[in-house]
Subunit: 334 residues, 2 copies
């Protein structure tokens, strides 16, 4: 297999009619996007490298495909955007083992594109002499002017987070053999949360115009809230006991509170956001409509000043838990 065969035999069959029109059958020099009156295009790019973000070896193609798509979609979700299409970059091997890996990667990619209604609009395939790498530029749209950023949080906003925090950290530890658990159900749930994160698409659009600032939890809950605080020039408090933990994660941690090491891990791909107290009822309604737990975990307490950290973790006695935790450096299984 070479790059021409890869495009013809594996990638072209993934084109839908609409996608084929935008991508011009993957035959032209570039793709042409339809005009979207009243909507902005929103663009995000992410790359994963073998041996850095996923393990070397033949079985990881499907997981790489799912994580590449889903973590990118999580970025769109955090902006309030709707997914439209993507451009795929593949740096792969063309020997027999490499071809098997690529086949498995592309098969999963195809089913994920269908799952999320995402068009494959173009890309590039090259030979990588050593570690494989995969790259995705994803495009979505949002109604004009309604993209949600990190800089809109205001004093007295409530701070919310979707789903549960820490599952992916345990899933990764279980995969790496750093931890064991007897229950197959618990293990499957946690590993899935790492390998197949669920981008919270549609949520922020449903909450427009209530949400003031949002971020997806990829670097770690505290670090990502730090991005909101810094960009918004505010300081916020997070009540440790309110950070949501799944039953499976509690089974592992044996604690009622999410351990600090897990708060700093990242890979959760939940959405953290701020909204004024007046939005609480609407947030509850949307939470029920999406069947998605949304937890109020803190509050924006003041403008940012040199006397206060951007994010303070508060324990049940009201004390600030030190040290406030630095940002997670993106990684994965080595």
């Amino acid at each position: 297999m070479d790059e021409f065969t890869l495009i013809k035999d594996l990638l072209r069959p993934l084109l839908t009619d609409e996608g084929a029109s935008v991508a011009r059958g993957l035959a032209d020099d570039a793709a042409v996007l339809p005009e979207q009156a009243g909507r902005n295009w929103v663009v995000s790019k992410d790359m994963l490298v073998e041996g850095v973000h996923f393990p070397k070896g033949s079985d990881w193609g499907p997981v790489a495909a799912s994580r590449l798509i889903r973590t990118n979609l999580s970025d769109l979700a955090a902006m309030g955007a709707r997914p439209e299409g993507c451009f795929l970059g593949l740096g792969v091997h063309f020997d027999a083992e490499g071809t098997r890996w690529t086949r498995e990667f592309v098969r999963r990619l195809g089913s994920e594109l269908v799952t999320f209604g995402l068009g494959l609009w173009g890309g590039d395939t090259v030979r990588s002499p050593d570690a494989r790498f995969v790259s995705l530029t994803i495009l979505g749209t949002v109604s004009t002017g309604n993209a949600i950023g990190r800089s809109g949080a205001e004093v007295d906003d409530d701070v919310y987070v979707t789903g549960s925090i820490g599952d992916a950290a345990y899933g990764l530890q279980l995969l790496a053999g750093q931890r064991e658990v007897e229950s197959r159900e618990v293990k499957t749930f946690l590993v899935d949360r790492y390998q197949m994160p669920t981008p919270r698409l549609g949520l922020l659009a449903a909450l427009t115009p209530h949400v003031r600032a949002a971020v997806d939890v990829s670097d770690g809950l505290l670090a990502d809230l730090g991005h909101i605080a810094t960009a918004s020039h505010v300081s916020l408090n997070v009540e440790w006991s309110r950070i949501p933990q799944s039953a499976a994660a509690r089974h592992i941690s044996g604690q009622n509170q999410v351990p600090i090491s897990v708060l700093t891990h990242g890979d959760d791909y939940e959405i953290a956001f701020t909204a004024p107290p007046s939005a609480a009822d609407e947030i509850l309604r949307v939470s029920e409509r999406f069947s998605l737990k949304i937890s109020r975990i803190g509050r924006v307490v003041r403008k940012l000043s040199p006397d206060h950290e951007p994010v303070n973790l508060i324990d049940e006695t009201g004390q600030i838990v030190t040290p406030p935790v630095a940002g997670f450096r993106h990684g994965g299984i080595k």
Copy 2:
């Protein structure tokens, strides 16, 4: 240096005011593109891998940056699109030598962005354990419906190509030590043509609506004309003696005609296109206005049928030169 420092110290300073607005200071989860009434977005993605598309070693960062930007821009040029912005993917090393390489890469990238009026709108940076790789998703716009593809060529169209063909092939051979030349001037010209190709931006927009089909010459002139012929379901003849050769290339080849080996090399990043004979005067005027040589090299002679090759190279006696040449497989210095 790690990815955060790289973004903060090297990439963020490249943002222009307009770019910073689209890219949201490289601080949000995604970029938000401005609405472009009456224009389509055109998107292309390309990747270069160390040891495959450029040599390993510390001196090649600037060349990798120039080629990444310019070859991508050539794709936009072939669609008739105007460059607007780009998303950069870097898979690099973070040790001292790696940091030097990245610094040199980013410095050249910055000057190329200025040269072409291209915004840096986002991207991703990761650690690559082995070979470095760089990826670019480039976005341009074209007035709605005026993107030029490969499928519009019609019987009796003339076939044109810009500039000269083969310079990059010789430049690469000189760089690789496979060939030598005494004249420093000749060497510099040919090496520059490989390392700093000139995307023919603006040309096709100036020629709208005359151009029926276009492609950029990256795989090799005959292979790329084959893409037009196949997509348009036509067969075209190319007169070998009319294929333009620079004085420097003629100095190397010692022949009046571009050698076949050079026609199949690619890396020229000229534009090949078809237009009806009635457009000849306008093409001449635009050629003068752009100070860009545009050569008529052949004609679309019939609808494609099993009896005829998509592209026939014709010698001065009118004979078809066989074998017609297969597509170049993308590569570079190994």
